[in-house]
Symmetry: C2
Subunit: 493 residues, 2 copies
């Protein structure tokens, strides 16, 4: 099935999201929606989606597909290779529209519906070719979230579900094949249970909508972005795993911790859960799963930190407090300045590794930049200094890459000041493995002190300048580093 | 309240998680748990937590607190400034332990319990000083997840809840104050509703535990890591917001989409939800909220990509497919080589911005590295080439930083080959703003072709070498770039 054009029926939030995912993946779409404002609304969703894709990946996207606004259902699906219906959630409306689509498009074309939970057997009841119809239930925003639930009705063919899954996969999605037809499928049953419980909490004045959202986004929601409840609870069982967890929390299923009654925890259900959980975990130990969970949590929280939102905002505030508490880093009268300074330590993180299996080149400069930041703190530059519009900028850098380094290796940087005046610091960083001392790289840099509001060089504040000059004086007689003053490609001395 | 030492009662998964968060924040702990293996188990959780914190932040952590294993409840709490009880979820056991703690510790000490849902009024029933007792319900892993629910019993004082919140905040957590005492508090009621629905699905053979987890982690779970259901649904309502969403999906509350009955959607409940949702959203428009949501989703998925897990694995597979599809990037016979090559475009992402409000220095090198990667693809280097153990490594770099740049600015790199032989490429990249052409930085680099298995230089494959030399020959007569051959600190020519 080579899909070059998709017919979209309904262009609300979901239909417009499909349009965005499709055109960004190089597929033409023809849309039908009776809303007179459809062009503007779809255009705005497309703009947001393009913006998101520019951030999502640096990989080359195909040439954008085209968008046509059709004047009828028939026109939208006439020469489509695939059809996706995203009309409002009314069974009668969908049955009628789907029968209309069925009559108007080629008989080999798969017809998907975006319904969140209506039964496909009923939706396909008016179709002459019901075998080519399936649920393909996406999640908002359709252009970013990978999940699509595939659920056939009684008259849907297996081939249709496979073809739909292949197509959705080709546009970056993750199909989940349902084994049974059920109202709400899987995802919406879970979401709906949580949602109805939340509505009870608001109705009973236990919590506000904001408090309920906070209870999710600062806690369990962070885990759910990469592990479902079963795997999370397996880990919570500790070394003894799922059986222990169920033994420990089984009794809580009888407690009034939600208005939903749990099923009886029979031996049969317990054994089924344990066996399926074992299969899910594979040969990963609980400690390995814990580390995977922690790595994912750290990455998620760091990702959110860039947007000053949710758990990322909590992390940013926490870090600010840590930096404020570390005033001891400022240079003191008794400090030994007779050697290069050792102010920064780090460890090679897994996400710093490139396709060669080693720390990627820009991370070397990141570590050197962090070492410069440590030097700034050491000479008395703090948040207030930056808020006052004063800062050092790097104007020139020369790096020698001497050795590769793998994930997990501890690192430290030593820093020698080669020269300084009231505006400039000329320094030389050396990056070492801390386990065996091997030198991995060097960076010679020129830093310029600037008035960031005026955008031009200016002298550093007197106390900062005094500390910088004191270090420079103490370092004046240290041996000049081997790679200082080097130009790219010069013969090794 | 200056907390220097915390007494911990119970050191299972939750108690050990508290120990880890506390000692990493410089607080001493004394633990009591009758488990004979407690020292080993706590040690393993501490090791995982230390590992996670090394990744979580580069901010300087305080000097680690100490861990003491006490032989009794009394010994653990004797000189504690705060006590946290994390015994198994049995009401009788907790009542007994809390009364024991109450007798043994200073009367000014706040006593928190980690219970997931037992009622504080009952838990404090055996205490002589019940006013200093509160629920402080954390989430696993306690050392990473910020949420802690604070819920007092009938005899808890307001001051106790405030003091507990201040303390939890000081160790990087996000307290959520409950207005009402209720079984399961807020978070566990939501989690428990979803969990019980999930157990029904397994019990009824609708889905396996893995399928249920997938329905969360590839869809709604990604959103829940930064927005709860109310805000997510407000956005799903499109421009018309929460009232429209409730009008559209209100009828679904009557559908059998979960085994949990919803409350009646009365006008009063509807108005309450709309008003609280408006308050939550503040003055953010739906389009702004959409962009915030998309930015967070992109960051979360990119974070997970580094761990080849969940939605991150889907993204990685998608990108690999995009790169494979872009074979047109390989140099063709008719290509114009008379100018520097323009092979790479990017855009300044918000997370590339440092405390000065500009793109941080290491991101310049990242963009240059991506431009080198684009050059490699252009001369015919693909995944198979790397899998065969062949690659170019950067051995030396000189960067000139000429201008600052802010988030959102489109960038492109032009690349001139200054010289090449069978093993080396000497190149010069220039980074420009694409909107007005301003040159932002330059990078002169020496790349060496290596046999990555043997770890030494070797000639490039013949077709790759031929393309490199052809570009070098075509670029030989281009003007030599102004900053080529420069050493750090040399006078500007």
């Amino acid at each position: 099935m080579n899909v070059r054009k998709v017919g979209l029926i309904g262009a609300g939030v979901i239909g417009a999201g499909w349009a965005a995912r499709l055109v960004l993946n190089g597929i033409d779409v023809a849309l039908y929606d009776p809303d007179p404002e459809v062009e503007r609304k779809v255009g705005e969703v497309l703009a947001n989606a393009e913006r998101a894709y520019r951030k999502l990946t640096l990989a080359p996207l195909p040439r954008r597909g085209s968008v046509t606004f059709a004047r009828s259902v028939e026109e939208a699906v006439a020469d489509a290779d695939f059809v996706q219906e995203s009309a409002p959630e009314r069974e009668d409306l969908k049955i009628r529209l789907l029968a209309q689509v069925d009559r108007a498009c080629r008989p080999d074309v798969v017809i998907g519906t975006s319904t969140s939970g209506l039964l496909p057997t009923r939706l396909q009841s008016g179709m002459a070719h019901p075998e080519r119809f399936t649920v393909g239930h996406p999640f908002n925003p359709v252009y970013l979230l990978p999940l699509v639930e595939i659920c056939g009705g009684e008259r849907t063919s297996e081939a249709t579900k496979e073809r739909a899954a292949t197509f959705y996969r080709s546009i970056g999605m993750k199909p989940l094949m349902l084994r049974k037809e059920i109202d709400g499928f899987i995802a919406d049953r879970l979401m709906e249970a949580l949602w109805r419980e939340a509505l009870h909490l608001v109705n009973d004045d236990v919590a506000t909508v904001e408090e309920i959202d906070d209870a999710v986004r600062f806690g369990c929601g962070l885990r759910w972005s990469f592990m479902g409840t079963f795997l999370v609870y397996r880990i919570a069982g500790g070394e003894a795993g799922m059986r222990h967890f169920m033994a420990q929390f089984g009794p809580a299923l009888k407690l009034p911790w939600t208005k939903l009654e749990a099923p009886e925890l029979t031996d049969e259900l317990l054994e089924k859960i344990v066996a399926q959980s074992d299969a899910q975990a594979g040969d990963r130990s609980i400690r390995e799963l814990e580390r995977l969970r922690d790595d994912c949590l750290v990455s998620v929280m760091q990702g959110l930190r860039s947007h000053h939102w949710g758990a990322g905002e909590v992390l940013a505030a926490y870090e600010e407090k840590l930096y404020e508490a570390s005033h001891a880093h400022v240079m003191g009268a008794g400090d030994d300045l007779a050697q290069p300074l050792r102010l920064h330590e780090a460890r090679v993180l897994p996400e710093w590794i490139d396709y060669n299996g080693h720390m990627t080149e820009s991370r070397y400069l990141q570590v050197f930049g962090d070492a410069s930041d440590a030097l700034f703190r050491y000479v008395g530059i703090d948040e207030a200094y930056h808020r006052a519009g004063l800062s050092y900028y790097t104007v020139e850098t020369h790096i020698m890459h001497l050795r590769e380094v793998e994930a997990g290796v501890p690192l430290h940087v030593t820093t020698q000041i080669l020269g300084a005046d009231e505006k400039r610091i000329h320094l030389f960083h050396s990056l070492h493995r801390s386990d065996d001392g091997t030198r991995l790289a060097t960076a010679e840099q020129m830093l310029l002190h600037v008035d960031t509001n005026a955008g031009r060089a200016c002298p550093a504040r007197e106390d900062v300048r005094e500390r910088v000059l004191r270090i420079a004086a103490a370092h004046r007689d240290l041996p000049r580093p081997d790679f200082a003053g080097r130009q790219v490609g010069a013969p090794r001395r």
